[in-house]
């Protein structure tokens, strides 16, 4: 019987290795898999390349992973947000690398990684500093930039409901990067607010088909990042 359910976040992140590339879902705190990230901090893998839209806030979740010096390089579109101090400090000190990618190009590079498309052309960033050093090409009178797919060894994703096959549905704008990150990783690891029986998620409304997911763990009461930031908490507690 296919059963992708893991008993704990700690078990779900087993095998993540030093130097791995990891995609982390979320747009700000919405969709950020905070329990998986904390389990990854406990697990100890370092020298990581993280692909995520932001760099976390306060001293929990992704910001804590960075603060604990596990991250060599960030690939993201918007590394500074409200209450985001950890990344900017390390970046100014030259202690962390940044590859800045326009948000839509980031999404399409991830989607391409999952879809077996090694490269594509986009009008985004043409003529700007973010296109410097990149191939450009004209199609039908418009100039485009060639961009390469991104793939990851692991993805850490948060969703609303999952079943033992790895089928997922999400909650509102917490969906964001989750579905495409599941497709682009060798091993997609997902925390779900609830695990349900196969068939309870109508086949018509599945957002991430189980084929894209390797591990699922139920985290029924996930922490709220903004609440922890407000309380001034730091991970590890």
């Amino acid at each position: 019987m296919i059963n992708k359910i893991y008993r704990s976040a700690a078990e779900a992140v087993e095998g993540i290795f030093d130097g791995a590339t990891i995609m982390i879902s979320g747009f700000g705190e919405a969709g950020s898999p905070i329990e998986l990230i904390h389990a990854l901090i406990d697990q100890g893998a370092k020298d990581l390349t993280i692909v995520s839209n932001n760099t976390g806030s306060g001293h929990v979740g992704l910001a804590a992973l960075i603060e604990n010096k596990r991250v060599r390089k960030m690939i993201c579109s918007f590394p500074r947000t409200a209450n985001s101090t950890v990344f900017p400090e390390l970046y100014r000190k030259g202690e962390i690398e940044l590859e800045l990618v326009p948000q839509g190009t980031l999404a399409e590079r991830i989607r391409s990684g999952g879809a077996g498309i090694p490269a594509f052309y986009t009008p985004t960033s043409y003529g700007t500093p973010l296109a410097e050093g990149k191939e450009t090409r004209e199609f039908n009178g418009t100039m485009y930039v060639m961009e390469h797919a991104i793939r990851a060894d692991f993805s850490l994703v948060k969703c609303k409901s999952a079943d033992r096959y790895g089928n997922l549905i999400y909650n509102k704008t917490a969906r964001n990067f989750g579905p495409i990150m599941c497709t682009a990783a060798e091993t997609a690891i997902v925390q779900a607010k609830e695990i349900v029986e196969p068939g309870e998620i109508d086949p018509e409304i599945v957002v991430t088909p189980g084929i894209f997911v390797k591990r699922v763990v139920e985290i029924s009461n996930p922490l709220e990042e903004s609440q922890l930031v407000k309380e001034g908490r730091s991970y590890p507690w």
Binding site: F27, A30, L98, G104, T122, Y126, T173, P179
Partner: protein
């Protein structure tokens, strides 16, 4: 310094001008900050559908206090609501809407706009600044019509409408129209054309406050 005796338009008036220029039924993406004001001035006989690039079409107004959902937010990471007839989708689909020219109008702020429509609004290029671009480059590359809403000059009185941008570009030749406190200016192949002057603003005064040549229709 800006001459305080010169009136011009208020921020709300600027936003209202933008709203009046958007057609009924338009799909609209509003940038963070002053562009968000546009939603307060939609004429009663028009319906706009708001897109937010983090995965919602049919964004409604801010929720009542106590009804905020941290998983229902806009691109500025502020709580919002969803109208009846909204839809949620992932980021690749969201930028299909943007890059694929499905969104009619995007209203953005600006650091600088050049006379050829070049826009700079994401970075001052200072060596110690943390660069952050978000979806701005995708929006200007993909949305059909780009409106810029901005004060005509910086607080220090420096030109924002210039011959050539000195800040790093967000996109080349992308701006269609500029709404400032002093005027509404069309960006055309042949240059900048003043569509409307603010209250008490003369063309000559406007030209003085502008770092590029202005034309009259």
């Amino acid at each position: 310094m800006v001459d305080k005796s010169i009136k011009g338009w208020s921020r709300n008036e600027m936003a209202q001008k933008v709203a009046l220029d958007i057609q009924d039924g338009a799909y609209v993406n509003l940038g963070i900050g002053m562009p968000e004001l546009v939603a307060d001035f939609v004429p009663e006989d028009r319906e706009f559908i708001y897109h937010t690039e983090n995965g919602l079409l049919g964004m409604g107004p801010a929720p009542k206090e106590g009804e905020e959902d941290p998983e229902l937010i806009n691109a500025g990471k502020k709580p919002v609501t969803a109208i009846a007839g909204a839809s949620f989708f992932h980021h690749a689909d969201s930028f299909t809407m943007i890059r694929g020219k499905h969104i009619d109008v995007c209203v953005l702020g600006a650091m600088q706009v050049a006379e050829n429509g070049d826009l700079a609004n994401w970075s001052t290029g200072e060596p110690h600044a943390i660069p952050a671009v978000g979806g701005a480059m995708d929006l200007v590359a993909g949305v059909k019509t780009i409106y810029v809403i901005t004060q005509h000059t910086t607080k220090e009185g420096e030109f924002k409408i210039v011959k050539e941008c000195t800040y790093p570009l967000t996109g080349q030749k992308v701006v269609d129209r500029i709404y400032t406190d002093l005027a509404v200016i069309d960006v055309k192949e042949e240059g900048l054309f003043v569509k409307e002057l603010g209250p008490g603003i003369t063309f000559e005064y406007l030209q003085e406050k502008t770092g590029a040549k202005l034309n009259q229709y």
